[in-house]
Amino acid sequence: MAMNSIGRGDTRPIADTAGGDAMTFTGNRGLQIEEALIFEQGQHGRTAVDLPEPPATALRIGRVRAREEIGLPGLSEPQVIRHYTRLSQKNFAIDAGFYPLGSCTMKHNPRLNEAMARLPGFADIHPLQPISTVQGALEAIDSLAHWLLTLTGMAAVAMSPGAGAHGEQCGMIAIAAALEARGDKRSRVLVPESAHGTNPATAAALGYTVDAIPATADGRVDLEAMKAKLGPDVAAIMLTNPNTCGLFERDIVEIARLVHEAGALFYCDGANFNAIVGRVRPADLGIDAMHINLHKTFSTPHGGGGPGAGPVVLSEALAPYAPASAVVRDGDGFRLIEHPEGTSFGRMKAFAGQMGMFTRALTYILSHGADGLLQASSDAVLNANYILASLKDVMSPAFDGPCMHEALFDDEFLKGTGVTTLDFAKAMLDEGYHPMTVYFPLVVHGAMLIEPTESEPKESLDLFIATLRNLSERAKAGDADHFTGAPRLAPRRRLDETAAARKPVLRWRPAEMLDEAAE
Protein backbone atom coordinates (compact mmCIF):
# COMPACT_ATOMS: atom_id res chain seq x y z
CA MET A 1 0.00 0.00 0.00
CA ALA A 2 1.01 3.58 -0.51
CA MET A 3 1.31 5.62 2.64
CA ASN A 4 1.31 9.38 2.60
CA SER A 5 0.56 10.49 6.12
CA ILE A 6 3.90 12.37 6.38
CA GLY A 7 4.32 12.22 10.11
CA ARG A 8 1.08 13.89 11.05
CA GLY A 9 -0.03 14.01 14.63
CA ASP A 10 -2.92 12.26 16.30
CA THR A 11 -6.40 13.05 15.16
CA ARG A 12 -8.00 12.12 18.44
CA PRO A 13 -7.67 14.51 21.33
CA ILE A 14 -6.01 13.52 24.56
CA ALA A 15 -8.33 14.11 27.49
CA ASP A 16 -6.58 15.89 30.29
CA THR A 17 -7.97 17.31 33.45
CA ALA A 18 -5.23 19.89 33.87
CA GLY A 19 -6.79 22.08 31.22
CA GLY A 20 -10.07 23.91 31.33
CA ASP A 21 -11.18 26.18 34.09
CA ALA A 22 -14.03 25.48 36.43
CA MET A 23 -17.23 24.94 34.48
CA THR A 24 -19.89 27.56 34.81
CA PHE A 25 -23.60 26.83 35.14
CA THR A 26 -24.28 27.92 31.57
CA GLY A 27 -21.16 26.45 30.04
CA ASN A 28 -20.35 30.01 28.95
CA ARG A 29 -17.00 31.52 29.80
CA GLY A 30 -17.30 35.28 30.06
CA LEU A 31 -17.70 36.63 26.58
CA GLN A 32 -17.41 33.14 25.09
CA ILE A 33 -21.03 32.09 24.83
CA GLU A 34 -22.18 28.61 23.94
CA GLU A 35 -24.57 28.88 21.03
CA ALA A 36 -27.16 26.32 19.98
CA LEU A 37 -27.90 25.57 16.34
CA ILE A 38 -30.58 27.69 14.66
CA PHE A 39 -32.62 24.50 14.36
CA GLU A 40 -32.58 24.12 18.13
CA GLN A 41 -33.81 27.64 18.81
CA GLY A 42 -36.36 28.22 16.05
CA GLN A 43 -40.09 28.38 16.58
CA HIS A 44 -42.65 27.55 13.98
CA GLY A 45 -44.32 30.62 12.50
CA ARG A 46 -41.73 33.14 13.65
CA THR A 47 -39.92 35.17 10.97
CA ALA A 48 -37.47 38.04 10.79
CA VAL A 49 -38.72 39.27 7.41
CA ASP A 50 -42.03 41.08 7.08
CA LEU A 51 -43.52 40.53 3.65
CA PRO A 52 -46.94 41.49 2.33
CA GLU A 53 -49.60 38.81 2.13
CA PRO A 54 -49.51 37.37 -1.42
CA PRO A 55 -52.74 37.87 -3.37
CA ALA A 56 -54.99 34.82 -3.32
CA THR A 57 -54.52 33.92 -6.98
CA ALA A 58 -54.56 30.33 -8.20
CA LEU A 59 -51.17 28.65 -8.50
CA ARG A 60 -49.88 28.13 -12.02
CA ILE A 61 -47.25 25.51 -11.43
CA GLY A 62 -48.33 22.92 -13.94
CA ARG A 63 -48.74 19.42 -12.59
CA VAL A 64 -46.30 19.99 -9.75
CA ARG A 65 -47.71 20.06 -6.24
CA ALA A 66 -47.06 22.95 -3.90
CA ARG A 67 -44.70 21.72 -1.23
CA GLU A 68 -45.79 21.16 2.30
CA GLU A 69 -43.32 21.37 5.13
CA ILE A 70 -39.68 22.33 4.56
CA GLY A 71 -38.49 22.09 8.17
CA LEU A 72 -36.75 25.46 8.43
CA PRO A 73 -36.69 27.13 11.87
CA GLY A 74 -38.29 30.53 12.44
CA LEU A 75 -36.41 33.26 14.29
CA SER A 76 -36.83 36.98 14.86
CA GLU A 77 -34.23 39.53 13.77
CA PRO A 78 -32.71 40.05 17.24
CA GLN A 79 -32.21 36.31 17.59
CA VAL A 80 -30.56 36.04 14.20
CA ILE A 81 -28.23 38.97 14.88
CA ARG A 82 -27.25 37.51 18.23
CA HIS A 83 -26.74 34.02 16.80
CA TYR A 84 -24.29 35.08 14.13
CA THR A 85 -22.58 37.63 16.35
CA ARG A 86 -21.87 34.89 18.87
CA LEU A 87 -20.68 32.54 16.15
CA SER A 88 -18.35 35.20 14.82
CA GLN A 89 -16.77 35.50 18.25
CA LYS A 90 -15.58 31.90 18.01
CA ASN A 91 -13.45 32.65 14.96
CA PHE A 92 -9.87 33.75 14.63
CA ALA A 93 -9.47 36.45 11.95
CA ILE A 94 -6.89 38.85 10.53
CA ASP A 95 -8.83 41.72 12.02
CA ALA A 96 -8.34 40.14 15.46
CA GLY A 97 -4.74 38.99 15.33
CA PHE A 98 -1.64 37.79 13.55
CA TYR A 99 -2.55 35.03 11.09
CA PRO A 100 0.73 33.78 9.56
CA LEU A 101 -0.84 30.96 7.56
CA GLY A 102 1.76 30.12 4.93
CA SER A 103 0.69 29.85 1.31
CA CYS A 104 -2.61 31.57 2.14
CA THR A 105 -1.49 35.22 2.42
CA MET A 106 -3.66 36.50 5.23
CA LYS A 107 -2.99 40.18 4.70
CA HIS A 108 -5.09 43.15 5.70
CA ASN A 109 -8.39 43.55 3.82
CA PRO A 110 -8.88 47.27 3.19
CA ARG A 111 -12.43 48.34 3.92
CA LEU A 112 -12.52 50.78 1.00
CA ASN A 113 -12.51 47.69 -1.25
CA GLU A 114 -15.65 46.44 0.46
CA ALA A 115 -17.38 49.79 0.06
CA MET A 116 -16.50 50.04 -3.62
CA ALA A 117 -17.71 46.52 -4.41
CA ARG A 118 -21.04 47.46 -2.85
CA LEU A 119 -21.67 50.54 -4.99
CA PRO A 120 -25.05 49.89 -6.64
CA GLY A 121 -23.39 50.52 -10.02
CA PHE A 122 -21.36 47.34 -9.45
CA ALA A 123 -23.34 45.22 -6.99
CA ASP A 124 -26.83 45.81 -8.36
CA ILE A 125 -26.28 45.07 -12.03
CA HIS A 126 -27.33 41.89 -13.76
CA PRO A 127 -24.90 39.87 -15.90
CA LEU A 128 -27.47 39.69 -18.72
CA GLN A 129 -28.80 43.22 -18.80
CA PRO A 130 -28.12 45.07 -22.07
CA ILE A 131 -24.42 45.69 -22.73
CA SER A 132 -25.14 49.38 -23.24
CA THR A 133 -26.22 49.59 -19.57
CA VAL A 134 -23.08 47.99 -18.08
CA GLN A 135 -20.28 49.84 -19.86
CA GLY A 136 -18.70 50.88 -16.56
CA ALA A 137 -18.56 47.26 -15.39
CA LEU A 138 -16.88 46.14 -18.60
CA GLU A 139 -14.45 49.05 -18.31
CA ALA A 140 -13.61 48.00 -14.73
CA ILE A 141 -12.92 44.42 -15.89
CA ASP A 142 -10.84 45.71 -18.78
CA SER A 143 -8.94 48.00 -16.46
CA LEU A 144 -8.13 45.19 -13.99
CA ALA A 145 -7.14 42.99 -16.93
CA HIS A 146 -4.82 45.74 -18.13
CA TRP A 147 -3.02 45.93 -14.78
CA LEU A 148 -2.74 42.14 -14.52
CA LEU A 149 -1.13 42.11 -17.97
CA THR A 150 1.17 45.00 -17.08
CA LEU A 151 2.32 43.27 -13.89
CA THR A 152 2.89 39.92 -15.58
CA GLY A 153 4.01 41.01 -19.05
CA MET A 154 1.75 38.39 -20.60
CA ALA A 155 -0.26 38.62 -23.84
CA ALA A 156 -3.81 37.90 -22.68
CA VAL A 157 -5.89 37.17 -19.62
CA ALA A 158 -8.93 34.95 -19.08
CA MET A 159 -10.93 36.64 -16.34
CA SER A 160 -13.74 34.16 -15.72
CA PRO A 161 -12.30 31.39 -13.46
CA GLY A 162 -13.91 31.35 -10.04
CA ALA A 163 -10.85 30.59 -7.91
CA GLY A 164 -7.22 29.52 -8.07
CA ALA A 165 -7.84 25.83 -8.74
CA HIS A 166 -10.42 26.77 -11.35
CA GLY A 167 -7.84 29.06 -12.98
CA GLU A 168 -5.37 26.22 -12.94
CA GLN A 169 -7.84 24.08 -14.82
CA CYS A 170 -8.42 26.92 -17.28
CA GLY A 171 -4.68 27.30 -17.95
CA MET A 172 -4.17 23.57 -18.34
CA ILE A 173 -7.11 23.23 -20.72
CA ALA A 174 -5.65 26.09 -22.78
CA ILE A 175 -2.42 24.08 -22.96
CA ALA A 176 -4.29 20.91 -23.95
CA ALA A 177 -6.17 22.87 -26.62
CA ALA A 178 -2.98 24.37 -28.04
CA LEU A 179 -1.36 20.93 -28.25
CA GLU A 180 -4.44 19.48 -29.86
CA ALA A 181 -4.55 22.31 -32.40
CA ARG A 182 -1.06 21.41 -33.56
CA GLY A 183 -1.98 17.73 -33.69
CA ASP A 184 0.36 16.87 -30.86
CA LYS A 185 -0.73 14.04 -28.56
CA ARG A 186 1.10 14.23 -25.26
CA SER A 187 0.25 12.30 -22.12
CA ARG A 188 2.47 13.33 -19.24
CA VAL A 189 2.59 16.37 -16.97
CA LEU A 190 5.57 17.03 -14.72
CA VAL A 191 4.74 18.28 -11.24
CA PRO A 192 7.30 18.84 -8.47
CA GLU A 193 6.80 16.81 -5.29
CA SER A 194 6.37 20.02 -3.33
CA ALA A 195 3.39 21.19 -5.43
CA HIS A 196 0.07 22.19 -3.95
CA GLY A 197 -2.42 19.28 -4.20
CA THR A 198 -4.55 21.10 -6.74
CA ASN A 199 -1.78 20.77 -9.38
CA PRO A 200 -1.73 16.96 -9.69
CA ALA A 201 -5.53 16.90 -9.22
CA THR A 202 -5.97 19.31 -12.15
CA ALA A 203 -3.59 17.48 -14.45
CA ALA A 204 -5.12 14.10 -13.64
CA ALA A 205 -8.65 15.38 -14.26
CA LEU A 206 -7.59 16.28 -17.80
CA GLY A 207 -6.40 12.74 -18.38
CA TYR A 208 -2.69 13.37 -17.98
CA THR A 209 -0.37 11.06 -16.12
CA VAL A 210 1.29 12.96 -13.30
CA ASP A 211 5.02 12.49 -13.06
CA ALA A 212 6.61 13.86 -9.89
CA ILE A 213 9.92 15.69 -10.08
CA PRO A 214 12.08 15.40 -6.97
CA ALA A 215 13.47 18.42 -5.15
CA THR A 216 17.12 19.15 -4.52
CA ALA A 217 18.52 19.46 -1.01
CA ASP A 218 18.08 23.22 -1.23
CA GLY A 219 14.34 22.98 -1.90
CA ARG A 220 14.25 23.67 -5.63
CA VAL A 221 13.34 21.60 -8.64
CA ASP A 222 16.08 19.11 -9.45
CA LEU A 223 17.05 20.36 -12.90
CA GLU A 224 18.88 17.19 -13.87
CA ALA A 225 15.97 15.00 -12.78
CA MET A 226 13.60 17.20 -14.74
CA LYS A 227 15.78 16.97 -17.86
CA ALA A 228 15.70 13.19 -17.55
CA LYS A 229 11.92 13.19 -17.40
CA LEU A 230 11.39 15.55 -20.34
CA GLY A 231 10.44 13.89 -23.57
CA PRO A 232 8.15 14.08 -26.58
CA ASP A 233 5.21 12.81 -24.50
CA VAL A 234 5.41 15.62 -21.93
CA ALA A 235 2.59 18.12 -22.36
CA ALA A 236 3.51 20.56 -19.66
CA ILE A 237 5.27 21.29 -16.44
CA MET A 238 3.30 22.77 -13.54
CA LEU A 239 5.57 24.74 -11.31
CA THR A 240 4.84 27.10 -8.46
CA ASN A 241 7.10 30.13 -8.31
CA PRO A 242 8.09 31.28 -5.74
CA ASN A 243 7.65 27.65 -4.80
CA THR A 244 5.71 26.14 -1.91
CA CYS A 245 8.88 26.10 0.21
CA GLY A 246 8.89 29.89 -0.07
CA LEU A 247 11.90 29.88 -2.41
CA PHE A 248 12.46 31.40 -5.82
CA GLU A 249 13.21 28.76 -8.44
CA ARG A 250 16.61 30.07 -9.50
CA ASP A 251 16.78 27.83 -12.58
CA ILE A 252 13.35 28.85 -13.79
CA VAL A 253 14.53 30.55 -16.99
CA GLU A 254 16.53 27.45 -17.88
CA ILE A 255 13.57 25.23 -16.96
CA ALA A 256 11.34 27.22 -19.31
CA ARG A 257 13.91 26.96 -22.10
CA LEU A 258 14.21 23.18 -21.72
CA VAL A 259 10.45 22.70 -21.48
CA HIS A 260 9.88 24.69 -24.66
CA GLU A 261 12.73 22.93 -26.40
CA ALA A 262 10.95 19.64 -25.68
CA GLY A 263 7.78 21.04 -27.25
CA ALA A 264 5.97 21.26 -23.91
CA LEU A 265 4.32 24.25 -22.26
CA PHE A 266 4.95 25.90 -18.93
CA TYR A 267 2.12 26.32 -16.41
CA CYS A 268 3.06 28.42 -13.42
CA ASP A 269 0.95 28.24 -10.27
CA GLY A 270 0.75 31.91 -9.37
CA ALA A 271 -0.33 31.36 -5.78
CA ASN A 272 2.81 33.12 -4.57
CA PHE A 273 2.83 35.97 -7.06
CA ASN A 274 2.36 38.34 -4.12
CA ALA A 275 6.08 37.95 -3.31
CA ILE A 276 7.32 39.34 -6.61
CA VAL A 277 4.78 41.91 -7.81
CA GLY A 278 6.61 44.80 -9.42
CA ARG A 279 9.97 43.04 -9.30
CA VAL A 280 9.57 40.14 -11.70
CA ARG A 281 7.21 39.71 -14.65
CA PRO A 282 6.31 36.06 -15.20
CA ALA A 283 6.51 36.61 -18.97
CA ASP A 284 10.23 37.30 -18.58
CA LEU A 285 10.63 33.88 -16.97
CA GLY A 286 9.20 32.08 -20.01
CA ILE A 287 5.82 31.14 -18.58
CA ASP A 288 2.87 30.23 -20.83
CA ALA A 289 0.01 30.38 -18.33
CA MET A 290 -0.39 31.45 -14.71
CA HIS A 291 -3.41 31.95 -12.50
CA ILE A 292 -3.53 34.80 -10.04
CA ASN A 293 -5.38 34.31 -6.76
CA LEU A 294 -6.97 37.72 -6.32
CA HIS A 295 -7.63 36.97 -2.64
CA LYS A 296 -3.92 36.54 -2.01
CA THR A 297 -2.07 39.02 -4.14
CA PHE A 298 -4.75 41.71 -4.27
CA SER A 299 -6.30 41.07 -0.90
CA THR A 300 -9.90 40.31 -1.61
CA PRO A 301 -11.27 38.91 1.66
CA HIS A 302 -10.83 35.20 2.39
CA GLY A 303 -14.34 35.08 3.87
CA GLY A 304 -13.97 31.82 5.79
CA GLY A 305 -12.91 30.02 2.59
CA GLY A 306 -14.03 31.92 -0.45
CA PRO A 307 -15.27 33.25 -2.72
CA GLY A 308 -12.09 33.56 -4.71
CA ALA A 309 -11.26 34.62 -8.24
CA GLY A 310 -8.56 33.15 -10.43
CA PRO A 311 -7.87 35.09 -13.62
CA VAL A 312 -5.33 33.34 -15.84
CA VAL A 313 -2.70 35.21 -17.79
CA LEU A 314 -1.68 33.57 -21.05
CA SER A 315 1.25 33.77 -23.45
CA GLU A 316 0.88 34.60 -27.14
CA ALA A 317 0.83 30.85 -27.86
CA LEU A 318 -2.15 30.21 -25.62
CA ALA A 319 -4.15 33.42 -26.04
CA PRO A 320 -6.28 32.09 -28.95
CA TYR A 321 -7.68 29.31 -26.76
CA ALA A 322 -8.99 31.50 -23.92
CA PRO A 323 -12.54 30.72 -22.74
CA ALA A 324 -15.67 32.88 -22.90
CA SER A 325 -16.70 35.34 -21.57
CA ALA A 326 -14.24 38.00 -22.62
CA VAL A 327 -14.41 41.80 -22.58
CA VAL A 328 -13.13 43.53 -25.69
CA ARG A 329 -12.73 47.17 -26.56
CA ASP A 330 -15.02 48.30 -29.35
CA GLY A 331 -14.42 51.86 -30.47
CA ASP A 332 -15.19 54.09 -27.52
CA GLY A 333 -16.97 51.36 -25.63
CA PHE A 334 -16.73 47.73 -24.67
CA ARG A 335 -18.28 44.48 -25.87
CA LEU A 336 -18.67 41.15 -24.14
CA ILE A 337 -17.93 38.00 -26.13
CA GLU A 338 -20.35 35.53 -24.57
CA HIS A 339 -20.14 32.58 -26.92
CA PRO A 340 -16.90 30.68 -27.38
CA GLU A 341 -15.72 31.61 -30.87
CA GLY A 342 -13.10 30.16 -33.18
CA THR A 343 -10.37 28.40 -31.25
CA SER A 344 -11.72 29.25 -27.77
CA PHE A 345 -11.78 26.09 -25.67
CA GLY A 346 -15.23 26.72 -24.20
CA ARG A 347 -16.64 28.17 -20.99
CA MET A 348 -15.48 27.75 -17.39
CA LYS A 349 -18.38 29.34 -15.56
CA ALA A 350 -21.71 31.07 -16.16
CA PHE A 351 -21.58 34.80 -16.89
CA ALA A 352 -18.51 37.03 -16.99
CA GLY A 353 -16.49 36.28 -13.86
CA GLN A 354 -16.28 37.23 -10.20
CA MET A 355 -17.15 40.91 -10.63
CA GLY A 356 -17.35 41.52 -6.88
CA MET A 357 -13.75 40.36 -6.56
CA PHE A 358 -12.62 42.37 -9.58
CA THR A 359 -13.83 45.66 -8.12
CA ARG A 360 -12.05 44.93 -4.84
CA ALA A 361 -8.79 43.99 -6.58
CA LEU A 362 -8.94 47.05 -8.83
CA THR A 363 -9.51 49.28 -5.79
CA TYR A 364 -6.49 47.64 -4.13
CA ILE A 365 -4.28 48.27 -7.15
CA LEU A 366 -5.35 51.91 -7.52
CA SER A 367 -4.90 52.51 -3.78
CA HIS A 368 -1.41 51.02 -3.67
CA GLY A 369 -0.23 52.53 -6.93
CA ALA A 370 3.12 51.74 -8.54
CA ASP A 371 5.13 52.52 -5.40
CA GLY A 372 2.76 50.79 -2.99
CA LEU A 373 2.60 47.51 -4.90
CA LEU A 374 6.38 47.30 -5.04
CA GLN A 375 6.70 48.24 -1.38
CA ALA A 376 4.10 45.62 -0.43
CA SER A 377 5.99 42.74 -2.05
CA SER A 378 9.28 44.05 -0.66
CA ASP A 379 7.90 44.30 2.87
CA ALA A 380 6.31 40.84 2.63
CA VAL A 381 9.71 39.37 1.79
CA LEU A 382 11.48 41.50 4.40
CA ASN A 383 9.07 40.42 7.15
CA ALA A 384 9.47 36.73 6.30
CA ASN A 385 13.24 36.97 6.30
CA TYR A 386 13.18 38.87 9.60
CA ILE A 387 11.24 36.01 11.16
CA LEU A 388 13.57 33.45 9.60
CA ALA A 389 16.66 35.27 10.88
CA SER A 390 15.16 35.72 14.34
CA LEU A 391 14.15 32.09 14.84
CA LYS A 392 16.84 30.15 13.01
CA ASP A 393 18.88 29.54 16.18
CA VAL A 394 15.98 28.01 18.16
CA MET A 395 13.86 26.43 15.44
CA SER A 396 15.12 24.50 12.43
CA PRO A 397 14.87 26.23 9.04
CA ALA A 398 14.17 23.69 6.32
CA PHE A 399 16.67 25.29 3.95
CA ASP A 400 19.66 27.66 4.08
CA GLY A 401 19.66 31.14 2.65
CA PRO A 402 17.03 33.82 2.39
CA CYS A 403 13.41 33.02 1.67
CA MET A 404 10.82 34.91 -0.29
CA HIS A 405 7.51 35.84 1.38
CA GLU A 406 7.31 32.83 3.72
CA ALA A 407 9.72 31.09 6.05
CA LEU A 408 9.73 27.30 6.21
CA PHE A 409 10.82 25.27 9.23
CA ASP A 410 10.86 21.52 9.81
CA ASP A 411 10.34 19.65 13.10
CA GLU A 412 14.01 18.79 13.66
CA PHE A 413 14.14 21.20 16.62
CA LEU A 414 11.35 19.24 18.32
CA LYS A 415 13.12 15.90 17.99
CA GLY A 416 13.09 14.02 21.26
CA THR A 417 10.83 16.55 22.99
CA GLY A 418 7.64 14.50 22.62
CA VAL A 419 6.09 17.56 20.96
CA THR A 420 4.89 17.30 17.37
CA THR A 421 4.36 20.06 14.85
CA LEU A 422 0.64 19.79 15.52
CA ASP A 423 1.14 20.15 19.28
CA PHE A 424 3.35 23.18 18.70
CA ALA A 425 0.67 24.74 16.52
CA LYS A 426 -2.04 24.08 19.10
CA ALA A 427 0.04 25.74 21.83
CA MET A 428 0.19 28.85 19.64
CA LEU A 429 -3.59 29.01 19.80
CA ASP A 430 -3.40 29.47 23.57
CA GLU A 431 -0.94 32.30 23.03
CA GLY A 432 -3.47 34.09 20.84
CA TYR A 433 -1.95 33.32 17.44
CA HIS A 434 -3.34 31.52 14.49
CA PRO A 435 -0.73 28.86 13.73
CA MET A 436 1.33 28.83 10.58
CA THR A 437 0.49 26.27 7.89
CA VAL A 438 1.53 22.84 9.16
CA TYR A 439 2.46 19.63 7.35
CA PHE A 440 2.65 21.47 4.02
CA PRO A 441 4.66 21.29 1.82
CA LEU A 442 4.83 17.51 2.08
CA VAL A 443 8.52 17.38 1.15
CA VAL A 444 9.55 18.75 4.55
CA HIS A 445 9.04 16.63 7.66
CA GLY A 446 6.58 18.18 10.10
CA ALA A 447 6.59 21.38 8.04
CA MET A 448 5.75 24.78 9.52
CA LEU A 449 5.27 27.48 6.91
CA ILE A 450 5.11 31.04 8.24
CA GLU A 451 3.84 33.86 6.02
CA PRO A 452 3.71 37.16 7.91
CA THR A 453 2.63 39.33 4.92
CA GLU A 454 3.41 43.03 4.58
CA SER A 455 0.51 44.04 6.83
CA GLU A 456 2.25 43.21 10.09
CA PRO A 457 4.01 45.98 12.05
CA LYS A 458 7.48 45.26 13.45
CA GLU A 459 6.18 45.38 17.05
CA SER A 460 3.81 42.56 16.21
CA LEU A 461 6.56 40.51 14.54
CA ASP A 462 8.80 40.99 17.58
CA LEU A 463 6.17 39.70 20.00
CA PHE A 464 5.47 36.75 17.71
CA ILE A 465 9.18 35.93 17.52
CA ALA A 466 9.51 36.15 21.31
CA THR A 467 6.51 33.85 21.72
CA LEU A 468 7.87 31.21 19.36
CA ARG A 469 11.28 31.38 21.02
CA ASN A 470 9.60 30.87 24.38
CA LEU A 471 7.56 27.92 23.10
CA SER A 472 10.61 26.32 21.48
CA GLU A 473 12.55 26.60 24.70
CA ARG A 474 9.62 25.26 26.67
CA ALA A 475 9.35 22.23 24.41
CA LYS A 476 13.06 21.54 24.69
CA ALA A 477 12.90 21.95 28.47
CA GLY A 478 10.65 18.88 28.62
CA ASP A 479 7.28 20.52 29.21
CA ALA A 480 5.55 18.32 26.61
CA ASP A 481 2.23 18.28 28.51
CA HIS A 482 1.85 21.98 27.89
CA PHE A 483 1.75 21.22 24.17
CA THR A 484 -0.02 17.90 23.93
CA GLY A 485 -2.97 19.18 25.97
CA ALA A 486 -3.21 22.47 24.05
CA PRO A 487 -5.29 24.37 23.32
CA ARG A 488 -6.88 24.93 26.70
CA LEU A 489 -8.05 28.51 26.25
CA ALA A 490 -9.60 28.44 22.78
CA PRO A 491 -13.40 28.24 22.28
CA ARG A 492 -12.93 24.49 21.86
CA ARG A 493 -10.18 22.09 22.81
CA ARG A 494 -8.89 19.56 20.30
CA LEU A 495 -11.69 17.97 18.35
CA ASP A 496 -12.13 14.31 17.63
CA GLU A 497 -11.62 14.12 13.89
CA THR A 498 -11.55 10.34 13.93
CA ALA A 499 -15.07 10.10 15.33
CA ALA A 500 -16.24 12.72 12.82
CA ALA A 501 -14.90 10.71 9.88
CA ARG A 502 -15.95 7.26 11.08
CA LYS A 503 -19.61 8.12 11.55
CA PRO A 504 -20.12 11.31 9.56
CA VAL A 505 -22.87 13.60 10.87
CA LEU A 506 -23.16 16.24 8.17
CA ARG A 507 -26.45 17.83 9.13
CA TRP A 508 -28.79 18.42 12.02
CA ARG A 509 -31.81 16.15 12.28
CA PRO A 510 -34.86 16.58 14.48
CA ALA A 511 -34.94 14.32 17.54
CA GLU A 512 -37.83 12.24 16.19
CA MET A 513 -35.85 11.46 13.01
CA LEU A 514 -32.88 10.37 15.07
CA ASP A 515 -35.14 8.19 17.20
CA GLU A 516 -36.59 6.58 14.09
CA ALA A 517 -33.12 5.92 12.73
CA ALA A 518 -32.13 4.29 16.02
CA GLU A 519 -35.09 1.92 15.90
Partner: protein, 125 residues
Protein backbone atom coordinates in the same frame (compact mmCIF):
# COMPACT_ATOMS: atom_id res chain seq x y z
CA UNK B 1 2.21 -19.49 9.89
CA UNK B 2 4.17 -20.65 6.87
CA UNK B 3 1.24 -19.90 4.57
CA UNK B 4 1.30 -16.12 5.24
CA UNK B 5 3.30 -13.93 2.89
CA UNK B 6 4.05 -10.23 2.89
CA UNK B 7 4.68 -7.50 0.32
CA UNK B 8 7.12 -4.64 0.58
CA UNK B 9 4.07 -2.37 0.52
CA UNK B 10 2.80 -3.80 3.82
CA UNK B 11 0.04 -6.08 2.62
CA UNK B 12 -0.24 -9.62 3.97
CA UNK B 13 -1.74 -12.59 2.12
CA UNK B 14 -2.82 -15.85 3.74
CA UNK B 15 -3.12 -18.82 1.39
CA UNK B 16 -5.86 -21.41 1.89
CA UNK B 17 -5.83 -23.73 -1.09
CA UNK B 18 -6.76 -21.85 -4.27
CA UNK B 19 -7.98 -18.76 -2.46
CA UNK B 20 -6.09 -16.26 -0.39
CA UNK B 21 -7.10 -13.59 2.14
CA UNK B 22 -5.52 -10.14 1.92
CA UNK B 23 -5.13 -7.36 4.49
CA UNK B 24 -2.66 -4.78 5.73
CA UNK B 25 -0.01 -5.43 8.32
CA UNK B 26 0.10 -4.35 11.94
CA UNK B 27 2.98 -2.06 11.06
CA UNK B 28 0.88 -0.42 8.33
CA UNK B 29 -2.10 0.21 10.62
CA UNK B 30 0.21 1.77 13.20
CA UNK B 31 1.65 4.10 10.58
CA UNK B 32 -1.79 5.08 9.32
CA UNK B 33 -3.31 5.78 12.70
CA UNK B 34 -7.04 5.55 13.26
CA UNK B 35 -8.64 4.00 10.20
CA UNK B 36 -11.94 5.71 9.38
CA UNK B 37 -12.99 4.16 6.09
CA UNK B 38 -12.11 1.26 3.84
CA UNK B 39 -13.09 1.14 0.18
CA UNK B 40 -13.15 -2.45 -1.03
CA UNK B 41 -13.26 -3.86 -4.57
CA UNK B 42 -16.42 -5.39 -6.01
CA UNK B 43 -16.77 -9.14 -5.77
CA UNK B 44 -15.89 -10.59 -9.16
CA UNK B 45 -13.36 -7.91 -10.02
CA UNK B 46 -10.16 -9.16 -11.63
CA UNK B 47 -7.19 -7.79 -9.72
CA UNK B 48 -3.77 -7.29 -11.19
CA UNK B 49 -0.64 -7.76 -9.12
CA UNK B 50 0.80 -4.44 -7.96
CA UNK B 51 -2.25 -2.42 -9.04
CA UNK B 52 -4.79 -0.63 -6.80
CA UNK B 53 -7.18 -3.04 -5.10
CA UNK B 54 -8.61 -1.09 -2.15
CA UNK B 55 -8.28 2.23 -0.37
CA UNK B 56 -7.79 2.65 3.34
CA UNK B 57 -8.40 6.04 4.87
CA UNK B 58 -7.32 7.60 8.10
CA UNK B 59 -8.35 11.16 8.90
CA UNK B 60 -5.32 12.70 7.26
CA UNK B 61 -4.38 10.17 4.63
CA UNK B 62 -5.84 7.91 2.02
CA UNK B 63 -3.67 5.04 0.92
CA UNK B 64 -4.02 2.59 -1.90
CA UNK B 65 -3.80 -1.08 -1.04
CA UNK B 66 -2.19 -3.00 -3.88
CA UNK B 67 -3.09 -6.49 -4.99
CA UNK B 68 -0.25 -8.83 -3.94
CA UNK B 69 -1.17 -11.27 -6.73
CA UNK B 70 -3.36 -11.55 -9.82
CA UNK B 71 -6.77 -13.01 -9.12
CA UNK B 72 -10.51 -12.57 -8.91
CA UNK B 73 -12.18 -11.14 -5.82
CA UNK B 74 -14.41 -13.79 -4.24
CA UNK B 75 -15.41 -12.14 -0.99
CA UNK B 76 -15.01 -8.82 0.80
CA UNK B 77 -15.02 -8.09 4.53
CA UNK B 78 -18.36 -6.34 5.04
CA UNK B 79 -17.57 -5.81 8.72
CA UNK B 80 -15.17 -3.03 7.73
CA UNK B 81 -18.00 -0.89 6.34
CA UNK B 82 -19.44 -0.31 9.80
CA UNK B 83 -16.39 -0.96 11.91
CA UNK B 84 -13.31 0.26 10.06
CA UNK B 85 -11.50 0.39 13.41
CA UNK B 86 -11.21 -3.40 13.19
CA UNK B 87 -8.26 -2.73 10.89
CA UNK B 88 -6.55 -1.10 13.87
CA UNK B 89 -7.60 -3.60 16.52
CA UNK B 90 -7.03 -6.83 14.59
CA UNK B 91 -5.24 -6.10 11.29
CA UNK B 92 -4.10 -9.62 10.60
CA UNK B 93 -7.32 -11.31 11.78
CA UNK B 94 -10.84 -9.83 11.79
CA UNK B 95 -9.56 -6.79 9.91
CA UNK B 96 -8.90 -8.63 6.63
CA UNK B 97 -9.89 -6.80 3.43
CA UNK B 98 -10.83 -9.27 0.69
CA UNK B 99 -10.35 -12.81 -0.61
CA UNK B 100 -9.07 -13.66 -4.08
CA UNK B 101 -9.00 -16.74 -6.20
CA UNK B 102 -5.35 -17.08 -7.17
CA UNK B 103 -4.61 -16.89 -10.89
CA UNK B 104 -0.99 -17.94 -10.69
CA UNK B 105 0.26 -19.62 -7.55
CA UNK B 106 3.86 -19.08 -8.63
CA UNK B 107 3.47 -15.36 -7.97
CA UNK B 108 3.62 -16.12 -4.26
CA UNK B 109 7.27 -17.00 -4.58
CA UNK B 110 8.15 -13.37 -5.13
CA UNK B 111 6.71 -12.34 -1.75
CA UNK B 112 8.41 -12.22 1.64
CA UNK B 113 7.92 -14.55 4.56
CA UNK B 114 7.30 -13.14 8.03
CA UNK B 115 10.96 -13.05 9.06
CA UNK B 116 12.00 -11.28 5.87
CA UNK B 117 9.19 -8.75 6.29
CA UNK B 118 10.06 -8.09 9.92
CA UNK B 119 13.67 -7.57 8.93
CA UNK B 120 12.60 -5.10 6.27
CA UNK B 121 10.61 -2.95 8.66
CA UNK B 122 13.33 -3.18 11.27
CA UNK B 123 15.77 -1.76 8.73
CA UNK B 124 13.53 1.06 7.47
CA UNK B 125 11.60 1.75 10.61
Amino acid sequence: MANIKFTKDHEWIRIEGETATVGITDYAQQQLGDVVFVELPDVGKALERGKDAAVVESVKAASEVFAPVDGEVTEINKLLQDQPDTVNSDPQGEGWFFKVKLADIAQLDALMNETEYNNMIAEHG
